[in-house]
Amino acid sequence: MSADVELQNISINFGDFYAAKDVSVMIKKGEFFSFLGPSGCGKTTILRTISGFLEPSQGTVLIGGKNMAGIGPNKRPTSLIFQNLALFPLMSVADNISFSLEVRGHSKADRRARAEELLGLVALEGQGDKKVHELSGGQRQRVAIARALAIEPEVLLLDEPLSALDLKLRQKMRSELRAIQKRVGITFIYITHDQGEALTMSDRIAVMNEGRIEQVDTCQAVYEQPKTPFVASFVGENNPFYGEVTAHNDRQVEVVCDGNKFMADISGNDHKESKKLTVGQKIILFVRPESISIKNSKAKIQNSFSARLDSIEFEGHLQNLFLTTESGMKVRLSVPNSEGTNHLTAGQTMELTFSAQKAVVLPEGNLAVD
């Protein structure tokens, strides 16, 4: 059984401080949904509200269409996986997993069978009698998942459970989590500040900032069609060019940033924000580092500008070029390693270009702070 989760105008305040402000989102049944945002953006508060540890100051939580007001965490059809996992160190692995069944008065044999079944699900067969501290980090992770799944929750809530693992293991656990979610088919709600995690696992993402949801969309839409400057700068790398609208029609916007005239294509963009632009409005034009390329004289160019190369950074599969335009704007671009950058030297001036389709124009707003 899986359930949808609906948040209606959730606000949570502690005195004057709003941890969440007017958050509304509909999370579909069986979906892998992530709340992504910097620390302190209110995502953990939202998760605690869904799990029932926190009552919202205003608004309603509906799980499977049922209002959850006044229903405690032990009575909700949700299971929570804690950031530090919170496994019971004095119980065996099997007892940890079947604790929720013990609570519900299941027989010992019943519990044992279910524990074994779940251990199988998370690929830990035969490890039931071990103590928690005898397991590795990744194995503990899986025990926590099995424990949370034992009562067959309709919604699984995950509070950055991968943050304590090292990089390789984290990447492996991402695909495992995704596979487990596919297998059990229930709704997963995942909290993270790591955009890589959110983008690789989720069906949809809610990007949060300062207690509000900035955008709810598929991973691709969040990346390619950010709705706000915050989303554009928080998810992935982005180059912001501050400027002003000089002309626009239904398909394209013409902007001027520090004397450079750029065109941005808005026909493919679903957001109303970019269609409501008016001439003279202050905007930010965003271009991703991988969308900027070094000018090739043969190509037909729409947007181009020149900048001086400051430094080159090697990052395995690609190289990052850091440049500064004449007016002092910092630009970053990424070149696949295969293209080679041997002919480039710091200090040289380069002609750069990007396509109008890859540029996003948004009304001026706050960027994410690094």
Partner: protein, 303 residues
């Protein structure tokens, strides 16, 4: 040893060694060995000590078990009764103390906000600035026949005759529980404080009731603190003197009072020593048994 010296430096290491050796040898081992030796010697006037009659004997231990040679009873029922009653009462006091302290310690450690917690700890400590004997007398004033409680209840018209709190040993139980409260409170608080709060939430999220969460998660975690607190409270209660003297009913005799009598009133030091040794021995055995029963190791207690 070299490690110890290099870690703490020569001055601190030497100080530690001397201080601890002095404490252990002069304040624990030598007096206890002297008592043990004394307990096996006859009670002789000073002039005869070291003479022909001063030989090792079991006479005092025999006296504890079978009474004086002139007694007609087959066992020393009076002393045995006091002995076992003291131990049993100490057990009850320990349990009372645990039951009383656990919720408070849990509240301070896990529920209360920082400020409230500090206030509570201070208000627990401050009354213990008052001397133990004075606290016992204060309780006596509360519980006496014409004491504060009785007077208040009678004046309020709730009852006609005073309750004999002291005769019923209510005062004694209250006084003893209170006397060593902190020795239960702080080990408990320490072990509860180290419990990860997420564990409580995890248990709750998995559907556990409060009682079960305590039984399965909190108490197992706090086991060492419980053992440590219980051991101290039991030992000190069984060995208490001031509080029972002031608060016990005329019919209740505490075993330490017997020991005191042998030493001071009957001037029979060797018999007093024998009784002390017995109390120490049985208390230690009792505590070790309890630890075995609850599967706690000595090392865990001092954690």
């Amino acid at each position: 040893m070299n490690n110890f010296f290099s870690k703490n430096g020569p001055i601190i290491s030497t100080y530690f060694l001397i201080a601890i050796s002095f404490w252990v040898i002069f304040l624990i081992i030598i007096p206890q060995l002297y008592m043990l030796d004394l307990s096996f010697r006859p009670n002789l006037p000073p002039l005869l000590r070291g003479g022909e009659e001063d030989v090792y004997t079991l006479t005092h231990y025999k006296h504890f078990l079978f009474g004086s040679e002139t007694s007609k009873d087959s066992y020393n029922f009076v002393d045995l009764n006091v002995f076992f009653k003291t131990l049993a009462t100490a057990v009850v006091i320990t349990i009372l103390s645990l039951c009383f302290c656990y919720p408070i310690a849990f509240y301070i450690a896990k529920v209360a906000e920082h400020k409230t917690a500090r206030l509570l700890i201070v208000s627990l400590i401050v009354p213990f600035w008052i001397n133990e004997l004075l606290r016992a007398f204060a309780l006596r004033i509360l519980f006496a026949g014409e004491g504060v409680i009785n007077n208040a209840l009678i004046n309020a018209g709730l009852m006609d005759n005073a309750i004999n709190f002291i005769g019923q040993d209510v005062a004694l139980f209250t006084g003893l529980t209170y006397a060593y409260l902190l020795l239960m409170m702080f080990p408990l608080y320490n072990s509860l404080e180290s419990l990860d709060t997420n564990q409580l939430e995890a248990a709750k999220d998995l559907g556990s009731s409060t009682v079960r969460t305590h039984w399965r998660v909190v108490i197992p975690h706090a086991k060492a603190g419980i053992a440590s607190g219980s051991t101290m409270v039991f030992m000190l209660t069984a060995g208490a003197l001031a509080t029972p003297v002031v608060l016990s009913s005329p019919n209740t005799f505490w075993f330490t009072q017997l020991i005191y009598q042998w030493f001071n009133m009957n001037d029979n030091w060797s018999r007093g020593a024998a009784y002390s040794v017995l109390l120490l021995l049985v208390s230690v055995v009792f505590v070790l048994l309890m630890m075995k029963l609850f599967r706690v190791k000595v090392g865990e207690i001092v954690k």
